[in-house]
Amino acid sequence: MSKSPTLRLHVDQDMCQGHARCKSLAPELFELDEFGNAHEIGDGTVPAGLEDKAWLAQTNCPEIAIEVTEE
């Protein structure tokens, strides 16, 4: 069986408006700054088992500010 790809997240800082939907849906993957704007934790690598949460956050961001790539 092939290993499923590792996901990597990135929040575009120019597009994020601080809706904080990602933080609510996937607190393991996102942090908020003092203004409430989001960024990915660490280098954005999604730990195994949290892939669904990464996609969930991506598909709920009203500003389409979250990019998810498969590595």
Binding site: Q17, G18, H19, A20, R21, K23, S24, L25, L32, E34, F35, G36, L56, T59, N60, C61, P62, E63, I64
Partner: protein, 406 residues
């Protein structure tokens, strides 16, 4: 002899929604959803000659394009009214355009982060229970008048550091500004004046004796040149927090309870699966988005193939966008476990509602505490549900009976 009051236009009943819409028409107030569906099927952006000329986008795409385009659309007027007086009292940052918008908004963001809201949550839970204590023994209540109305106003008073008992003044001013003010300039100006005087008093008190509330936070803020904000800026932002923070969430909580009163299956599911609450709150926000904003067209452009011309306002209907079937499958159904939900209830782009985290927390807590104490309730057939008119939509009378039917 004083000048006569300006003559306000009549609002004859609408017979042609595509060419003559009116968001103050009783049919829109009662049930706007079929109207938006009809308009959306006709054209993504429609126009009315009422309100001195106004466009209405009804698709998600058109609303989004306008919300993102601060070059052609200004926020200097954010309410569509019969008149457009030059000197409007500004309320930064909602009435600000770039480049002055960002610094004005950044001052307000830190007190409204999700973490800041967690600190306020216990007080809001207590407020909800204090309110329920007052009517639960009666077996019924008008949930809008006795519950949903009071939660946001007391919470924002608590944050601002002003007495929660002054709530009734705030509710009166907001009704005068957001509803009566659309058609009556005198009422609006008087309400703005009274509200400004009220806050000016609180600012003066804090100059003598600083506090650690939101009013003091604004007074202590520094602009990019290190200077304190002018009193007029502080007053404008305080007006905004009060106007934007009360009616809106009152409406969102009210619409949620209205939905739950007539949908026992959703009620039962939320009680059985409380972990669904965050998703359910987002869905209720989508389906019953309370807030319609406005823009003013500054330069000619094209939106979703429709030309828009300066001199007109735009009724920026986030509620209609959120019902667009091209964006949301089963857009007309409330699906409390909806997985994908990029709703625009708090706006899109730079004017994202500064209080969105506060509103979500208040909605969540108000629904949770209600369901804990009153798990079964239904609309009172002897009463009548009434809805607010204009910019913010929610139930203003919501008579419900407690307990199981029959």
């Amino acid at each position: 002899m004083s000048d006569p009051a300006p003559v306000m236009p009549e609002h004859p009943p609408v017979t042609d929604w595509v060419h003559d819409f009116d968001h103050t028409d009783p049919r829109w107030t009662e049930n706007p959803f079929p109207i938006w569906d009809e308009l959306r099927a006709e054209c993504p952006v429609v126009h009315t000659k009422r309100f001195l000329g106004c466009y209405l986008p009804t698709t998600y795409e058109a609303v989004k394009q306008i919300a993102y385009d601060t070059e052609h659309f200004s926020s200097r007027r954010v309410i569509v009214r019969d008149v457009r007086p030059e000197a409007t009292a500004s309320a930064p940052p909602i009435t600000s355009d770039p480049p002055i918008h960002k610094p004005a908004k950044q001052l307000l963001l830190p007190p409204f982060t999700p973490d800041a809201m967690k600190k306020l949550e216990p007080r809001v839970r207590a407020i909800c229970n204090e309110l329920i204590d007052e009517f639960i023994a009666e077996g019924k209540c008008d949930a809008a008048a006795r519950y949903t109305k009071h939660v946001p106003v007391r919470a924002i008073a608590h944050m601002l550091g002003i007495p929660e008992k002054d709530s009734d003044h705030f509710i009166k001013w907001i009704h005068e500004i957001l509803e009566l003010g659309i058609k009556n300039d005198d009422v609006l100006m008087r309400a703005v004046h009274e509200m400004t005087e009220y806050f000016a008093g609180h600012i003066e008190q804090r100059k003598k004796q600083p506090t650690d509330d939101l009013i003091s936070t604004l007074m202590n803020a520094r602009d990019k040149d290190g200077q304190p904000l002018a009193d007029t800026h502080v007053l404008g932002s305080l007006r905004l927090l009060l106007i934007a923070g009360i009616d809106t969430t009152w409406s969102a909580i009210g619409s949620s309870l209205w939905h739950l009163a007539k949908t026992p299956a959703d009620r039962a599911r939320l009680i059985a699966e409380p972990e669904l609450m965050p998703t359910a709150v987002e869905e209720l926000l989508r389906a019953y988005s309370p807030v319609t904003m406005a823009r003013e067209v500054m330069r000619e452009t094209v939106v979703s193939g429709c030309p828009v011309k300066p001199g007109n306002m735009v009724l920026l209907s986030f509620p209609a966008a959120n019902r667009d079937p091209a964006m949301f499958p089963d857009a007309d159904k409330v699906v409390i476990d909806r997985k994908e939900n990029r709703h625009a209830a708090f706006g899109l782009g730079i004017h994202r509602c500064v209080g969105s985290n506060l509103a979500r927390m208040e909605m969540t807590v108000a629904i949770e505490e209600w369901l804990k104490r009153i798990p079964d309730f239904r609309l009172d057939p002897a009463g009548q549900v009434t809805w607010s008119e204009g910019t913010v939509r929610g139930p203003r009378q919501l008579p419900v009976l407690f307990g199981k039917a029959g």
